[in-house]
Symmetry: none
Subunit: 355 residues, 2 copies
DNA sequence: TATTATAGGTCAAAGGTCCA
DNA sequence: CTGGACCTTTGACCTATAAT
C-alpha cells in the first residue's frame, strides 16, 4: 500500500528493507529472526540491560533486544502462521521431503493402536474364559455350545473392546445406543473374519461349527432348562444362510488383515444414521469416522506394500455395505430382539464401566 | 436471483462476499484460491485432521480444509476452466509435471464414459418428457405430480440408463433381478444427489418438493381415479424421513460430482448378495464392481486433484452403506412392493430391448 | 451497444524451507 | 542459531466473455 519510490529501511536494524513482514517493514533477516523466535516458542535468554542498540552490525549480539524491537516496530506474533498452527491442535508437521513416510501406526494414541491393544486383551480374556491353550485343537461344536460361547463372549467384548471406544461429549443414552447397535454387526464381522477361507465357522472360543452338518447339531438340546441357550440359537439360526450369501463372500474376497478388521470394526461402531441418534452423536461419529478413514488410508499407504491403496480402501469400505445388508436381514427376522435381551443382561457392565 | 441488499459473507471464510464464484457465494480470495487449486491440478498436502476452522484469520493455514470447505459450500471443480473448455473442445489441462497422467475419462469404452453418455441421454429424454427448457424455473410440486413424474421417469431410466448397463453371459431372469433391485436405490441416490445442499427435494422433472410443507401437499388428491398416483405416493411417503436421516446427510457431506455419482450408480447396479442371485450373476457383478472401483480410483488419482484419493474413495464407498440402510428401511415398510408393480408395468420395455 | 456477473491472468507481497 | 538463497502461496487488481 505504501509503495514509495524512495529506498526504505528495516525498522529494526536499518538494513535495506525488503517489504512488510508480520506487520512491519523489515529486512528478510529480521523477518526470519522474528519468525523463528515466535515459532520456536522458547524463552529468549536476556543477557543485557535492555539498552542494546540494534543495527546491522550489532543485530546478532542481543536476541532479546532485537526481539523487543521487532514487537516495538509493529510485528505481530499472531502473523506467524506456524504460531497459529500450534494453537490449532490438529495441525500436523508438514513433511518437507517427499520420501517422508513415517508409518502412522506408530503414532501413539492412534485409534488403531488403542484397538489393537483392546483386541489383544479381548483375545487374552477369551483364552482364559474358554480355556484355550497354545496346544488345544479346535473342536467341532454345536448350537448349544455356541450359545454359551456367545453369552459369555458378549460380556468379554463389552468389557475389553467396547469400553475402550471413546465417545467424547456424548450422553450415556447415546453411548448405549452405539453399543447396542455395535454388537450384532461386530459378531457377524468378526465371525466372518475368523472363518475366512474356511467352510467352517469359527467361534470366539476357537471351536468351530461345521455348517454342512448344521441340522444334526441343532437338534441336540440336552438341557431344556437353559432358556438363554434356545434364545441365542434362535437368534443365530438365520445367520448361516444370510452370512454365506453376503458378508462371508465379501470377506473371503477382500482378505482383511487384523488391522483392517479393526478399522472396519471401528467404522461399524461409529455408525450414523441410526434411529434415535442425536445430532451431537452424529457429529461425533462423523469426526471419528473421518479420523478412522484417515488412519486406514495411512495404513494402506505406508504399512501395507499395496501399490493401489485407493482400490484397497474401496474394497474394504464395501464390506460395510455387506455388513449393513446382513444386519438388516437379521433385523427383518425380528429375532434380533433376543440379542438385545442378551445385551440387557450385561447392561450393568456398562453402568459400572462408564462412570 | 437472490440479490439481497443485506451484506453477504463468504461461505468459506466469512469475509465479505464478492459474488457467486464457481457455484458458491464467496470472497475473491477464496474464489482465486479454489481456481488456482483446481487449475494447478497439484495435490494439496493434507497436514491436519480435517477439523480446521476456516475463517478470515485462519484461511491461509490449512489449504486442504479450505479446499474441502469450498466443495462443501457448493463450489464445483467443473466450473473452473469451463469457459476455456467451451471455447476449445480439445482444451488440455495445463500439465504441471511432465509425467502428467492421461485422465482416464477419455479412455474409450470405459464404464464411466458409457454411463456419462447414457446419463446425458437420460437427462435429454427428461427434458423432452417434462418440457424442461433452459429458461424454465423450478416449481414447487406435490405428491400427485411426484407420482406422475416417477411413473414416467422409471420408463426413461430403464430405456436410457439401465439398458446400457451390460450384463455379459447372464440369463434374462438374472438381469431382471438386477434391474428390479436397481431402481429403488437409484431413485434414492439420484434424488439425494440432485438435492445436495438444498432443503428442497428435486424431482427428475426439475421441480421440487418442499419437505417442510409436505403435509399440505400430501392431502391434495384431486383425481381419485388415478390408483397409480396413490400407490407411488404411498411408496415414497416414508422416504422423506428416512432419507434425511441417512442418505441425504451422507451425500451433503461427501459432495459427489457427476462422475462419482455415476460410479456409485454402477456399483449399486452390479450388486451382489441379493436373494435368488445365481453364482454366475454374482461372479459377473464382482468382476464389474472390481472394474468400476478401478476406474473410480483412476478418476480420483488423475482427474480430481485430491491429494489423498484413498480417503476420497473410502468416503464415496461409504455412501453404499447409507444407500443399503435406506433401501432396507424402505423395504421394511413393505410398501416397496408397489414400486415393483410400477416396474412390472414397464417390464415389456425390457423384453423388447434385451433381445 | 452497454451493462453485469463471473471467469481467468498477472504480479508483488508474504510465508516457508533449506543449508552453509 | 543466523542469514540469505530460493521456492510456493496469496490476494489485489486487471482483463475477458457470455448473457442480457
Amino acid at each position: 500500500m505504501t509503495r514509495m519510490t524512495s529506498p526504505q529501511f528495516c525498522l529494526i536494524c536499518g538494513d535495506s528493507a525488503d517489504s512488510l513482514h508480520f506487520g512491519a517493514l523489515s529486512c528478510r533477516a529480521c523477518a526470519a529472526f522474528f519468525r523463528r523466535k515466535v515459532a520456536g516458542r522458547r524463552n529468549i535468554f536476556r543477557r543485557c540491560d535492555r539498552q542494546c542498540k540494534v543495527d546491522t552490525g550489532m543485530r546478532k549480539l542481543c536476541a532479546s533486544c532485537r526481539y523487543d524491537k521487532c514487537l516495538k516496530v509493529g510485528m505481530r506474533e499472531s502473523a506467524v502462521l506456524s504460531r497459529l498452527a500450534q494453537k490449532n491442535q490438529n495441525y500436523k508437521k508438514p513433511s518437507g521431503s517427499p520420501e517422508e513416510c513415517e508409518p502412522s501406526t506408530s503414532t501413539s494414541g492412534s485409534i488403531l493402536e488403542n484397538l489393537q491393544n483392546a483386541y489383544q486383551k479381548l483375545e487374552e480374556a477369551r483364552r482364559k474364559a474358554f480355556n484355550i491353550t497354545h496346544d488345544s485343537v479346535p473342536q467341532s461344536s454345536n448350537y448349544k455350545r455356541m450359545n454359551e460361547v456367545f453369552y459369555e463372549d458378549i460380556k468379554l467384548v463389552v468389557e475389553n473392546l467396547v469400553s475402550t471406544l471413546q465417545c467424547p461429549d456424548i450422553s450415556k443414552e447415546q453411548q448405549k445406543l452405539l453399543h447396542v447397535h455395535f454388537l450384532v454387526p461386530f459378531i457377524l464381522l468378526e465371525g466372518g473374519y475368523k472363518s475366512t477361507n474356511s467352510e467352517l465357522f469359527y467361534l470366539p472360543s476357537g471351536d468351530y461349527i461345521d455348517e454342512t452338518r448344521i441340522a444334526e447339531y441343532y437338534q441336540n438340546p440336552d438341557d431344556l432348562n437353559d432358556k438363554s441357550g434356545e434364545a441365542a440359537a434362535e437368534v443365530f439360526r438365520p445367520y448361516w444362510k444370510l452370512n454365506r450369501q453376503t458378508l462371508k463372500m465379501h470377506l473371503d474376497d477382500v482378505q482383511l488383515d487384523l488391522p483392517e478388521l479393526l478399522f472396519v470394526t471401528a467404522l461399524v461402531f461409529y455408525d450414523y444414521g441410526l434411529q434415535d441418534q442425536t445430532d451431537d452423536c452424529i457429529e461425533m461419529c462423523k469426526r471419528m469416522r473421518s479420523q478412522i478413514l484417515e488412519e486406514l488410508t495411512d495404513y494402506e499407504k505406508n504399512v501395507r506394500i499395496n501399490d493401489d491403496h485407493s482400490y484397497r480402501v474401496g474394497q474394504i469400505i464395501m464390506v460395510l455395505q455387506a455388513i449393513q445388508r446382513t444386519v438388516n436381514m437379521v433385523h427383518e427376522t425380528r429375532e434380533i430382539s433376543l440379542v438385545y435381551n442378551l445385551y440387557e443382561r450385561h447392561s450393568s457392565i456398562f453402568e459400572t464401566i462408564k462412570d
